[in-house]
Symmetry: D3
């Protein structure tokens, strides 16, 4: 196979890969993920968004703040000046599941996939934290990249 | 339902709940999660652990460091002086899947579930980052608490 | 005057003062502060808390998160494991002013005044940030300690 | 009123607003603030700047460092590569008051008002911290933007 | 040799070692280090400490703040609530060398050697930063532990 | 002498110097440093890199992550979006010494010397941390800049 893990040099040592010669272009990434919970927990979260105890509002803020810490958390990520982060939640009652989707953007030399994925993960972890007193068995899943725009590799969409 | 989301007060406003009256006891949490990839990507990671390009070694360090940032990422988490963090990986070839499990411990007034779950998430995100040049479609799933010891609620195990 | 600034040693050099011999006791601090704005801005914030665009909900989260960063921001502050942080807002329509009050608590060897004051400042800065597109002239004032409990100096209340 | 709080989308959900299409221009912001203390405390600080126990020198460093953490503290702030930060203090003996003014600059897609205001707040909090052992009643006030240059909105000065 | 690197488990995998069963005792560590420069640079620093341009005052603050970030920088370090940090400088004119010594203390389950060493390193790096415009060839050396008190291993002093 | 410490203004007050008018150019810095240990410790580290207990692999990751925190640690450093970081180790058996060299790059308005030097220091501190259980007397030395490219001052190499 000719493909390689670019985060390692020819000797197999990790490095932060050189992006200095890449163009500064607009780059977008969209990530998603979900957390499944008991129906009673789901009802609590849904009511909170309308009335009080706004779990999703807090998870949204945590996700945005988390996206800004990506290069501190992921060892070989480049620091990136994000130009936009948006976080949406969908409530799927049939499965007692909350789906998050995050769009991250920059004008820079490397992509923002990790920023979008990190934000999605932090959103789900925050929902877990806020509901864990009533439901420890919640599970996070389906965290993945949905779409990617910009840079040399161009447009990519997940299946 | 008499249960409540403890991160909100009687008016529905978020707060960092009072744990000052709780005893300092030994507390343990075990969390897990997995990332599924293409067979070729899985092979690259597996070979790296034996020879060079050590993806899992780096993901382990990222997870340990991430556990220490939990209270910065999750808005209502208490800062906790972790006394132990251990991270293990299992390579499930049949499913081209890597499973992480994290054990976190403290001697403190509140549990370390979020520290274990955050570490597991950061481990998976780091694997994604290091392999994304060859496989953008990897998916993270099954991130959940496996076990919890200590504190008033005692021993809990996931199903 | 026999009193001294304890953050300096006998040679006038800054240090983080020794609190190792102090008892671990429950310590509470309450701080307050306010931001004054145009009546139209005030109306926007007030409506947001009821319906959408929840400025104060976001400022509350920022304040709680900010309190956890106090020892990183204030050079000679000791790192402190906070056991409780609560943030309240009062809307004073007559003056187009929003008043924040923060209660911080720990069980530790030194007080949490700086944590409460830092949280109050971050709450006000966040309100400024979210409203600055419509009102750049907002002013923050009256940021001070209201009350302090615990430690050798005992109970103190501001005038 | 046609004006809107730009940090919320059409549904009232918070987001980090898109600045990707804005030009990279030189942007300057000047913020101010003050802390009022007992005359004896004021005398201690003033002497320290000349001789030993340099409260203001430490507050200046804290302010510069704080400006670099703005996007971590203020949830919807964009990360900005600051190109200059300067911090000045004026000692107003008649009122036992120390006035800080901060100038922040960048070449970027969005303004640096929050960086200047955050630095001013951190300067005042640091002065409070260093003097609180002798004067718990100090009050911070008048924290506001004085001037703003650059960007689409052009030159703005406070009244 | 029967000794082992405790940061690895029996399989050679890194972990944050379990200190939960250790007693909370007073622990002290003293570290040192030096930076050698051109005589003209040395003269500039020495004059600054007396008059203006206080390089060492700023390096002292940076060292204290750096000590609080140790567990973020050193992957397998436990987070530790420092109870005291003191930083001293000695100016050795004969060698155009500035020697830093840092004392760090905690009441905790593990030692503070890394906190003292990290603070010493940050002090030297800060001196380098502030003088590099006039002297790029400065060299940092002799960074080592001088003394260690507390914990099971008791009192240790360097040769 | 006409040279000046640029981190101070005409009044001797520290500031983050204005780099807004500088061009964005490619900038490279190479730094080095070493840690000397007992021969038995050296043998343990060398074996670990081949088999298990990978001290240098972890130190490399810590160095890369540390380089991204430089502007948080060094008070007057500008935040810089690094475009490349590479870390190499050389094992000098005759002296039981491990030499680290770090190359840092950016496309920006100011140099990356401090990023390279900070990364080198963090690498050495991490090696110390991982080996200190068997060898407390290790010494770090020779931390200095080797080379610098880009910016107005052009190419510089250490003697």
């Amino acid at each position: 196979m000719s493909q390689q893990l670019t985060h390692f040099d020819a000797q197999g040592q990790a490095h932060m890969v050189d992006v200095g010669a890449k163009d500064e272009t607009r780059r977008v990434a969209v990530a998603t993920g979900a957390i499944t919970m008991l129906p009673a927990t789901f009802a609590m979260v849904r009511e909170g968004t309308a009335k009080k105890g706004d779990v999703l509002g807090i998870a949204r803020i945590a996700a945005i703040q988390g996206s800004k810490r990506t290069s501190e958390l992921i060892p070989l990520c480049h620091p990136i000046p994000l130009t936009r982060v948006a976080v949406d939640f969908e409530l799927e009652e049939a499965d007692s599941r909350i789906v998050v989707s995050v769009t991250a953007e920059t004008v820079g030399r490397t992509g923002v996939e990790m920023e979008a994925l990190t934000a999605a993960s932090v959103a789900l972890l925050t929902i877990y934290d806020m509901c864990k007193a009533v439901d420890r068995g919640m599970t996070m899943s389906g965290i993945r990249l949905l779409e990617k725009l910009g840079g040399k590799s161009g447009h990519w969409t997940g299946s």
